[in-house]
Symmetry: C2
Subunit: 326 residues, 2 copies
DNA sequence: TTTACAAACTGGAGCGCTCTAGATTACCGT
DNA sequence: ACGGTAATCTAGAGCGCTCCAGTTTGTAAA
């Protein structure tokens, strides 16, 4: 920067302003500076800028796993808003078993991002709250009491799914559940409540977040004596696993067994998949998370913000009336 | 850090060493320091560390798109190696149309990553070479002359695919191609060469990197008068698009029309998809990219490294003998 | 011409760390 | 007891930028 300043015959400060597009630099001088920079092959040093600067323009984004489309959808939403506002995004990726979550969040913290937008964190509410105590954090698609949350009503969504199945005549409906943990219990509860209300027997089978495991666990259920006529999966990845298990058995989704997912991640939209699912409007969740993050930065001391939204049912080919066969 | 030093009764330098787990700090002192840090709620500042430090432990990773499993696979491979070596990873995500690639790479450059590992860049060879001139760069799954590349022989892979189809009796085989651009022409050439060698007529239909577009373009082909009995897609995403187009038309992949993809991204493995594809061993590509990056850091002036590997065919359910019907 | 005020520009302090070179302490054998 | 080596520890410079508090220049009103 020193060199560029000398080359352009101005002070370092002015070079800084010019590169940031800040006001207070005449058009002619700005042009002269950028030209000099180009001649000297100068690239501003983001790192130094972030150390010296006041901050406020870097968002950290935590994503559980890159193999799950949902998180890509959320990211798209965050990016749309953040980018329009000139914010930088720093990514941290977790693992499907959640074992790296703490480390990944710590990385973001140590990179001094101004706010963390976290989706798919598998830490306990208490742990999330703890990091949120040190750096502003907005939780996406999960309600963490006391922490900014952009959230979709999972209890209601699960109800929506079950009522759809019941409407189709299904009575033996199993819930293929995520590992029980703080913040991810409401879909399960929604299922149980909906089943009880209908006077049906609930049956919960716990699986993991991995598609392959879900396929395995679904397989066991499908092969059991009292196999269900419908399975409600805790998310789309798991539902795809169910579809896998069906395919292996030569069974047809929607005809032989109905399967319904959750998230409406973009993969479920594909005609080849045609998964009936509960839409949490993930991209919009991402957008709202970014907006919430900005609000938080503007007012660091404000009360925790909770943005709730209602999911909706998207009916595709993987659900259908209960057939005579099973 | 100053505060922690005072609290622990040592110098700032020693606090630095203690937090980095560097040698030259007695066990007792280290413990005392970390304890003091905990008491004061201290978190090291990565940004300041990177500004002051010598560098060499931060990798930048460019991924084309989070919706394509291939890139997640590559990332997994990179992460495995990088993490084992204590390297930090900084991510930059492009867009499916490649329009943001230059900006994303610039971001990495400005974050002063020590080396960029790039997969799915849609810039020209010249442009890639230019950034590679300013910051060490290793290109993954694409051969950029003059730039470190970890690459799989696409020409050979395409041949493998076509020969498999020909072996099954197919003669009308269309190639659903990616937009022609530097570095992504070899699958197309491999297809053409293989077809010519077999005395067959080549038919190339260009599509994009988006699954939905591929479905559309495949649909047009499938509906045409001289519809093919097999389609070879430039990658798995496009192949999934073909599967979508088939599903919409009530056609069965493998029975009515054979479809073969490219990449063996993890989604193609799922039993519900069962896509025959060419395996580029993406995770291994990622691992080798990380290793190459380290080599480059160790010897900045060495000749460009090219790591080639041979793809292999993975036969699943989406290909089969040409039927009587079509 | 003088005064006033905005626009354009500058110098220097400081962000929180790492690194180098040197000062201190501990420990060993003789 | 003593030099010598290794293990600890410390002071201070500097990484490349932004920010603050000015100083200078330009321009319009008096």
């Amino acid at each position: 920067m020193e060199d560029v300043a000398r080359e352009a015959g101005v002070s370092r400060s002015l070079v800084s302003l010019a590169y940031r597009g800040a006001p207070g630099v005449s058009a002619a001088t700005r042009h002269r500076i950028l030209d000099a920079g180009r001649r000297l092959n100068y690239t501003p040093n983001q790192i130094a800028a972030r150390l010296a600067g006041r901050g406020g323009n870097t968002f950290g984004v935590f994503l559980q796993d890159l193999h799950n489309d949902l998180f890509a959808d959320v990211y798209d939403g965050v990016r749309e808003i953040a980018e329009a506002d000139g914010k930088h995004l720093v990514l941290a990726v977790g693992t499907i078993d959640g074992r790296r979550d703490a480390v990944s969040l710590q990385t973001l913290e140590q990179s001094r991002v101004d706010v963390i937008i976290a989706t798919g964190v598998q830490l306990s509410n208490a742990d999330v709250r703890e990091t949120a105590g040190r750096v502003p954090l907005v939780s996406v698609a999960r309600l963490v009491p006391g922490v900014d949350s952009v959230w979709s009503d999972n209890h209601f969504g699960a109800r929506l799914a079950i009522e759809h199945l019941i409407g189709l005549g299904h009575r033996r409906i199993v819930f293929l559940a995520n590992p029980p943990s703080d913040g991810y219990l409401d879909r399960r509860r929604g299922y149980i409540d909906a089943m009880r209300d209908a006077g049906l027997l609930e049956r919960v089978v716990t699986t993991t977040y991995a598609r392959a495991t879900a396929a395995l666990d679904a397989g066991v259920v499908l092969d059991s004596a009292d196999a269900p006529t419908a399975v409600f999966a805790h998310n789309d990845q798991a539902a795809l696993g169910v579809l896998d298990a069906l395919a292996v058995r030569g069974l047809s989704a929607g005809r032989d067994v109905s399967v319904i997912g959750y998230d409406n991640s973009s993969v479920s939209r594909a005609p080849g998949t045609a998964l009936t699912t509960v839409d949490i409007h993930s991209q919009s969740l991402g957008r709202n998370a970014a907006i919430t993050a900005m609000r938080r930065l503007a007012e660091p001391a404000a009360q925790p913000i909770t943005h709730s939204s209602m999911p909706s049912l998207v009916i595709r080919g993987s659900t259908g009336p209960v057939g005579p066969a099973r």
